[in-house]
Subunit: 327 residues, 2 copies
């Protein structure tokens, strides 16, 4: 039985708590959240499902006076600058970390100084720190890296994750800017932008041991060219129906990796596809795509077992043995 | 630069030699083959491509008096009973091993006593031993295990590898019994049978930590129900056009893993497909499938890097970090 401290009780954190209650070999021994509305209650009080009656603390330090987890699952922020101090604190308490922080999945090239400081902090306290998730962390970086295992030569890797936002929840539709005008989209680019796409490019390059010249990222609105009815709502022609984000890696002046993420109302053929050009060339497709909400919580839990076997330091999905569902 | 001793200079061994000559960070320092026609020559003499001018020895012991490899790539036999003593000899010389021996990919349940003896021998001499390949080793075991990483629950795993033998070389067509009558097929079942399918079932179960009741395997001819013309040849109605082999794993009396391998002349839609039922359920398909000859040689070479980082003992693909193309 692996004892987990769940640090961060937002939507992803609570979904992980829910999923852990359905598992046999892993359990939550406490929660941590800085929200004063949450700390001091039991986890069960914060959940609309049958969560364990374990305490929620205001800090990791407070938690470790009362409970003895082996691993902290850290689902607080997406940005590396914000998570660095959180990792340092957990490291001092000698807990291995599995995180969903997008920028932490492969920060060696996007933020090498912070990555090195986190790595040193983890090594100093003899813990491992691994970030995972469905994207970044699996579909657009780890899985394509795995697929190159059967290649004698790789010339180009293209990954596309195309999602139909029509059946998704309102917050997801709002996140991708559904219904906005072009001007409104431009004003809200920072909030609309999916975090972690450049990190995925760098992870694939790392797997292939390619030194890239640079990685470029673009973000475009997807404009409705006809009226779209979805659920009880109507999207007028010319309004935004979603987002298309592309990250491209260049090596010796040539495009070698291109990752396309598109999520929009009315997408006709959602899918997750990896296309490898080389020897052999082949395409691997998941028609319909993988549900991101389920998958991010699931792979985070599944990665706990693999993470327990890691050497100390900041690690990535390229360092772990196959997570696989198991706990 | 990783120095490799290529042990076994049959078709797979020679293809690995060829592919290594195309790589940058790995090189062959010698070959080993028991065939007296081969030992004593240079590797280049045995190849129809520009192989290195390195010696071919009659035994690993002879080789290690002259060359200093870090890894032995072992491509001699498919059967565990035959490879055990070969591994023991290489282990005594303290070389890490990467092998294509099909029964070695996951022998923990099919032949636990031999597996344990190999494991002990490797640990005693502080070396690692890993078997890989495209099938077994990747498409029907490792890749489905990887795909379960995004699952909160797995109920059933089905993998199908459907190959069209029409464009393949004559030896492959002969291997799968093309042109045989039903009687001839039955007489030649042992030679036609693809080795390693039960091992793949057990590997998936191992990844999911499922205790299986048992694994059953069937082997059936695929009979032409009409005349088929392929190349300059004609297959009459009623003759065999290939093989269908199915391995099924049962847990608590229920089928939970089913692997179907079919290779036949005139297969219309060759593919490699993994279908997972659980939360979420999804299917991943490689239309056309992955070329087995290229892929087995390539993944064996790619796995050398991952294998160098393994602890001592008999390891499987479930123990290594993502091989990925890189060397």
């Amino acid at each position: 039985m692996i004892n987990v401290l769940q640090v961060g009780l937002g939507p992803i954190g609570l979904q992980i708590v829910k999923y852990i209650t359905e598992r046999k070999n892993i359990q939550i021994v406490g929660g941590v959240d800085i929200d004063p509305q949450k700390a001091g209650k039991t986890l069960n009080k914060l959940c609309d499902f049958n969560a364990p009656e374990v305490p929620v603390f205001a800090s990791v330090s407070d938690a470790l006076k009362k409970v003895t987890p082996a691993v902290a699952i850290l689902t607080t922020v997406s940005k590396l600058t914000q998570i660095e101090s959180q990792i340092a604190t957990i490291a001092e308490h000698k807990l291995n970390i599995v995180s969903t922080c997008e920028e932490l999945t492969y920060p060696w090239y996007t933020a090498p100084e912070i990555a090195n400081r986190i790595d040193e902090s983890c090594k100093k306290h003899d813990i491992s720190c691994l970030a995972t998730g469905v994207n970044p962390g699996f579909l657009m970086d780890y899985l394509p890296s795995v697929l190159t295992s059967v290649c004698q030569r790789v010339d180009h890797v293209a990954v596309s994750r195309i999602q139909n936002a029509t059946p998704r929840r309102k917050p997801f539709q709002q996140k991708i800017g559904v219904g906005l005008s072009r001007n409104e989209f431009d004003q809200q680019r920072a909030a609309i932008s999916h975090v972690g796409l450049p990190e995925s490019v760098w992870m694939i390059a790392g797997a292939l041991q390619w030194e890239l010249d640079n990685v470029k990222e673009t973000l475009q609105p997807v404009i409705a060219d006809e009226k779209i009815t979805f659920g009880t709502e109507v999207l007028a022609t010319g309004k935004n129906r979603g987002v298309e984000q592309i990250a491209t890696g260049y090596r010796d002046g040539k495009e070698v990796i291109v990752l396309k993420f598109r999520a929009a109302i009315g997408e006709q053929e959602p899918h997750d596809t990896v296309a490898i050009k080389g020897q052999p060339s082949f395409t691997s497709t998941i028609p319909g795509g993988v549900n991101g909400d389920v998958a991010t919580a699931a792979i985070t839990i599944n990665a706990v077992r693999s993470a327990q076997k890691l050497d100390a330091g900041l690690k990535t999905m390229l360092d772990v043995a196959v997570p696989a569902f198991s706990l």
